[in-house]
Amino acid sequence: MEMLWFWLVSVMVAIYAVMDGFDFGAGVLHLFVARTESERREVLAAIGPLWDGNEVWLLAAGGAMFLAFPKLLAAGFSGFYLAMFMVIWSLALRGIAIEFRSHVKDAMWRSFWDLVFAVASTLLPVLLGAALGNVVRGVPLDATGYFTIPLFTTFGVGNPVGILDWYTVLMGVLVLATLTAHGALFLAWKTTGELHRRCVRAARTLWPAVAVLALLATGATAAVNPAVYRNLPHAPLAWVGLALFLGGLATVFAGLAGRRPLVPFLGSGAFIVGILAATAACVWPVMLPSTLDPAASLTAYNASAGAGGLRAGLVWWFIGFPIALAYFACLFWLHRGKVSAPEEGQGY
């Protein structure tokens, strides 16, 4: 049952990364690819109806982690205290920027919120990538099950560790580049004209960089946490993840050369899911390794809630999850096709 919940949480995190990922990417890019007010509104029309729902996947994944692995949530959130608040405040400013922008028809008001939207959208992938790096590298958990960690120490990966070191910064850059490239493909899919062409150009520039960074990160992970690769031969799901990862990358490059803009976007989605799935399969059952003592690591077994809660949660999860997917299917269907800039007062 712990294994099932480990995978349910992983699935929700992966969906979150793919879904909110494209609107993060759109936020990073929109100052560069959308030059006129009408183009900016096109970008917002593309993500406007979706971004809030995308962000709910973060809350839903957090909720699932809370009910299934409360000790992991408690240790992780309190340990990364100040970094968590950077995430919280960035999320708040970003949401406000999207929602308040269209309410006042004034060029400076809109430029200001566009800037806030871009900065918050850039900061968040870096922070989330660094978080992923910390989860792979480990944190100074002791036998009490808690830890505290400074923002940075010597930027080396050995004890005493900090939130930012060369490895976690690399992961932050990788995630930023990946989500930006992912967002470029989403916008290329949903837009037309000059905006569409700029997005395709951005994607063509970014994806080779993503491939190089992914290669670097793979090598770096072997140096930072060799145990990850020791599990590889015994983890069939990791091979599925790797196949998705490579297949997704190939689809992106093939799709960029082709004429159907949805294909490379789906490819980049598979690429993101693949990385996360392969990582999850290789680290199982460890969810937060300790750099002090491997026995103090939090795993799916020692961080989990009781069997009663896991069982009850499973029942409603399998009712709620298909409903959530159905909402998204409806939303994508209602907003299918290319977007156009909405009239004033009729949309974002």
Partner: protein
Amino acid sequence: MGDLLFWHRLQFGFTSTFHYIFPQLTMGLALIIVVLKGLGLARGDERFDTAARFWIRIFGLSFAVGVVTGIPLEFQFGTNWARFSAHAGGVIGQTLGMEGMFAFFLESTFLGLLVWGERKLGRRGHFLAALALFAGSWLSGYFIIATNAFMQHPVGYLTAADGSLQLADFWVFLLNPWAIVQYCHNMMGATVTGAFAVAAVGAFWTLRGVHPETAALNLRTGVIVGLLASLLVAFPTGDLAGKRVAKHQQPTLAAMEGRWQSGPYAELNLIGQPNVEGRKLDNPVRLPGLLSFIAHGSFSSDVKGLDEFPPDQWPNNLELLYYGFHIMVGLGTLFIGLMGLAALCLPGGRLQRTRPLLWALMLAFPFPFIANSAGWMVAEVGRQPWLVYGLMRTSAGTSHLVHPGQTVFTTLGFAGLYFVLGLLFLFLVGREVNHGPVGHA
């Protein structure tokens, strides 16, 4: 350590009180929007849709601020209350998880459709979107209240070998009688807030002599819904909530009423100042026997005073609890009076001509926010010194490794951010109200 507890509590108290300004408005407005859209659909009357369109714009603004101030609260369980999360997450993680799955997805899907989709959906579709958003926001409210109810009156749990709380019976936990009573009381409180806002805007436009048609509709809707909700929030829901406190949180009831000595024919204190050192209520104005009757249904029943309980079980901010309770009840009584008076003036359009009453309605809208906040302070301060009533003390639930200075820093950060958010919200709502029901490009 004492410092740390103080800052953690201040931060959560501040961020949750600020957050709840917005959900009480959106939950109240959600119901009123459904009523307006429903009447518009049933009668084929465009005026209702015009009125609804304005409130949907306000709803959208309020919802956005509600979302961005609500997400921090979910994080703060882990960041500031780590030991509580580790201890009770096996139980309360259920309702917090269900809120995301069953309420937030529903709300986020239909919000865009309600705000921007009227043309695309048509009248019937737009009504259904309003209904879905109403269901989502009221469902969300239930999951949060059920979480809080477990902290007030834990049921359906068992204590595991490592001392942590685990879920034993899902339905007993989810349908906690405390949750059902508190939910009804809370949702009526939110409806009062929404109705007062609607009536206030109607009064403002009427006093200005603008948008007479929509203003009259707002006044009518706000006053009728406001009167019903003001009555229901007091009786039966408030009464039942009080009886549950009387039964299960006896020191809390005594503290709410500033009562130190036990005995039958307990008097209800209308006003007076609690004197904790002297263990008495100074300068009280009291109604004899009424507290016994309200708490237990009989004038002769015994109501325990604080002296029966060791001081380490008393709520530790007794004054705030006492005043919070009396402010809530006092305002609630005024709401019934004001809305009752306004309702009497509704027939024949007399209300539109009674300018003092219009002024009162216009200026009354902040008070339901105060009453709702005071009510939540009664619930949360009254629960002290427990984090989970009778099971876990608040001091045992903090993130003990977080340095107090970090919590001071983040609390100040929230204060600054929320100040700006509040200003922006008021600015944008003010523009909408000024602009009137038709809206602007």
